[in-house]
């Protein structure tokens, strides 16, 4: 029986934990299998949950979030017969599959779309907590924007410095309004529950927004330009389907293998012109082919297109 461990944000964080949960559910639905899961409440429970599941025979054990890296590094070697899958982090152990996403690539694409959709030449980014991962999103986005319009302005705000920053839609709204008053007409939210407020306010104020992680286009039809898809659900689904004895190692989920991308559906069909889509698709295949390099903030803690 596989197990899934969510990071502190919880199963329903409107972000990657939730995506992971959907992936596991899809697996359960399609295979009729069952899985265990746990929402952590404290840092100390990371190692605890790993060990408890491993000892009780769960296999594979999937966990979401870079914060597990340290704990898994400690635990993995104690349970050589258990397969672990960690998302968003690399842990070098023979029984671990590490899945990382090139969020900067996906963000680059939606950045391009934002720049193309923007009338004002100013676009916004609203992050949740100020951590490197979110800067990676912001940095990729800004590069995409600049690629289309080098003169464009990218306004970037983080919601806060405590975990409350992931669940403060009111502040998300206010940040959106502040960005609008500075001229932004497209905003990209990578802020968990806070993003709910961003998308809502963008819709209310009649500007475009960009969702994150899963396809959020349907939340405000005709108002959400697109969503930067980070297919954590696929990664989890894949891991559970592969089951024990899966292939281990380092899994990069990028544009090339559909790990990240942008969402197109009936809700945003009218917003995305053929020309826009063509340009973005071209960039996507360039990136996939390795002809276009998008800088990853976390590789050297710097961003060519944006300062924090």
């Amino acid at each position: 029986e596989p197990a899934l461990i969510f990071d502190l944000g919880g199963k329903f964080d409107k972000s990657f934990n939730e995506a992971a949960f959907r992936g596991a559910e899809r697996w359960a639905e399609e295979t009729g299998g069952t899985f265990r899961d746990i929402e952590l409440q404290s840092e100390a429970q990371r190692e605890q949950a790993l060990r408890r599941f491993a000892e009780s025979g769960s296999n594979p054990i999937v966990m979401t979030g870079f914060a597990f890296g340290d704990a898994l590094g400690q635990v993995a070697s104690d349970y050589p017969d258990t397969d672990f899958v960690i998302i968003d982090m690399v842990v070098d152990a023979p029984n671990v599959r590490s899945v990382v996403f090139n969020e900067h690539e996906g963000s680059y694409l939606v950045g391009m779309m934002a720049a193309k959709a923007s009338q004002s030449g100013t676009v916004g980014f609203i992050g949740g907590m100020d951590i490197p991962l979110i800067r990676k999103f912001a940095c990729g986005y800004a590069q995409g924007v600049k690629a289309v319009n080098p003169d464009a302005t990218v306004i970037s705000n983080m919601t806060g410095s405590t975990p409350a920053a992931w669940n403060d839609p009111v502040k998300g709204s206010e940040l959106t309004k502040a960005q609008i008053s500075q001229g932004a007409d497209v905003v990209y939210a990578a802020a968990g529950g806070t993003g709910v407020g961003v998308l809502q306010t963008a819709a209310d104020e009649d500007i475009l927004s960009i969702g994150v992680d899963s396809n959020q286009n349907h939340l405000h039809p005709g108002k959400v330009l697109t969503s930067m898809m980070k297919r954590v659900d696929n990664a989890v689904f894949q891991a559970m389907s592969d089951g024990p004895g899966m292939e281990k190692g380092f899994n990069v989920m990028g544009l090339a293998n559909g790990g990240v991308g942008y969402a197109m559906d009936e809700f945003n069909a009218d917003l995305v012109s053929a020309d826009m889509q063509a340009a973005v698709d071209a960039a996507a295949s360039q990136i996939a082919a390795g002809d276009l390099a998008v800088h990853d903030y976390t590789s050297d803690d710097s961003c060519p297109a944006l300062s924090f």
């Binding site: 502190l8 919880g10 199963k11 265990r36 746990i38 929402e39 952590l40 409440q41 404290s42 840092e43 100390a44 429970q45 190692e47 605890q48 949950a49 060990r51 408890r52 599941f53 870079f66 914060a67 890296g69 340290d70 968003d88 982090m89 907590m129 100020d130 951590i131 490197p132 991962l133 410095s161 405590t162 975990p163 976390t298 590789s299 050297d300 803690d301």
Partner: protein, 364 residues
């Protein structure tokens, strides 16, 4: 001239209150379609049924002991220190700096150094609110709340920009060197022939917390400084009459309080995570308030309350592991325990007192 014998006050009242909280919790569990009996069993065996469970229970309890003692000491001086959260965060920074910057030859020395650093940083974070209270009359409740937020921002800044190993995604410091790893209860008890779970994070800090308990008790009830702290807390006019300096006591009590809160970091940062992460304190500062209030600000009461909350945390984790009970339910259970044992205790005490009075009258 108490109505109830002391044993009844300290055992019957909390036990019946706990029972009420348990019954209500059971109803909530029932309401969301789970089996309350199984849940309670799971919690008890999970938290207290093995050395593994105890190892986690005691680990959490250690955190709460420090923050609970911190709140208690300030409380005895009539000061409501809500800043345990921020002080513990900064204490973590102190521990991290001590462990990473100084090449300690042995964990014992590292523990000493880290404890000192944690206490110093925690005390420093309490010093400004204390000073503003003493000299400017700025309400300590607001300033300590503000310093919690400021502390979170500082820690975030330091971890994201200064102390994070280059290229790491995780806003956390590097792991501490092997030499400063603290022995767990497993390591400590093994030479005594007691086998204690290896996996559990409870470590030598628990003993330090116990020592802190005793020291706080000793400070408050055996030294003139503690006597002055308690006097000032009970009556400021009397303290002035008695030649006790309000400024000095406010500062001293808050510094001790901050130091205790900061010292929590040797448990969670040095003992468990062995590195400093952003979210290291995770609310223990606030639980400390409940622990101190429930423990009536007495170190022994704080000890019991801390164990109770350790039990709730670990029992809750077990529930989360083996059932589909969402973690919010555990929060609800904690709330009910706090409510019944801490705020609605008179609901139990009043009828009990009447009962004892009747019995006494009947006897005489």
């Amino acid at each position: 001239m108490e109505v109830m014998p002391k044993w009844a006050e300290v055992t019957l009242v909390p036990l019946i209150s706990l029972l009420l909280a348990a019954i209500l919790s059971a109803l909530v569990i029932l309401a969301i379609g789970e089996d309350p009996v199984a849940a309670v069993k799971l919690m008890v065996t999970g938290a207290l049924g093995s050395t593994y469970g105890w190892g986690y229970t005691l680990y959490y309890a250690t955190n709460f002991l420090f923050t609970g003692l911190a709140v208690s000491v300030a409380f005895h001086a009539g000061l409501f220190n809500i800043g345990g959260e921020g002080q513990a965060m900064l204490g973590g920074l102190g521990v991290a700096l001590a462990c990473l910057l100084i090449p300690w030859p042995h964990w014992t020395l590292a523990l000493l150094g880290a404890t000192l650093a944690a206490a110093l940083f925690g005390a420093a974070w309490a010093a400004i609110p204390a000073f503003l209270q003493a000299k400017r009359g700025s309400h300590i409740v607001i300033t300590t709340i503000m310093f919690n937020f400021i502390g979170a921002a500082v820690l975030n800044y330091v971890l994201v920009n200064l102390m994070r190993p280059a290229g790491s995604m995780d806003p956390a410091t590097a792991r501490f060197p092997e030499a400063v790893h603290l022995p767990t209860l497993h390591d400590i008890l093994a030479p005594l022939g007691i086998s204690f779970s290896k996996a559990a994070p409870a470590n030598v800090t628990f003993l330090i917390a116990l020592i802190a308990c005793v020291l706080v008790w000793f400070l408050l009830w055996r030294t003139w400084l503690g006597y002055e702290i308690r006097s000032y807390g009970k009556s400021e006019p009397a303290a002035k009459y008695g030649g006790i300096s309000p400024t000095a006591i406010t500062m001293i009590a808050m510094l001790i309080s901050g130091a205790l809160a900061g010292m929590m970091a040797i448990n969670n940062v040095m003992g468990e995570a062995e590195r400093l992460v952003l979210n290291a304190v995770e609310g223990a500062g606030f639980i400390g308030i409940a622990v101190a209030l429930m423990g009536r600000s007495h170190p022994f009461g704080v000890f019991l309350a801390a164990i109770l909350f350790g039990f709730l945390y670990q029992g809750g984790a077990e529930l989360a592991l083996w059932t589909n009970i969402p973690r919010e339910l555990i929060v609800v259970i904690q709330a009910l325990v706090i409510l019944f044992t801490g705020a609605l205790d008179n609901m139990v005490r009043m009828p009990l007192e009447r009962l004892f009075l009747m019995m006494r009258r009947g006897n005489s």
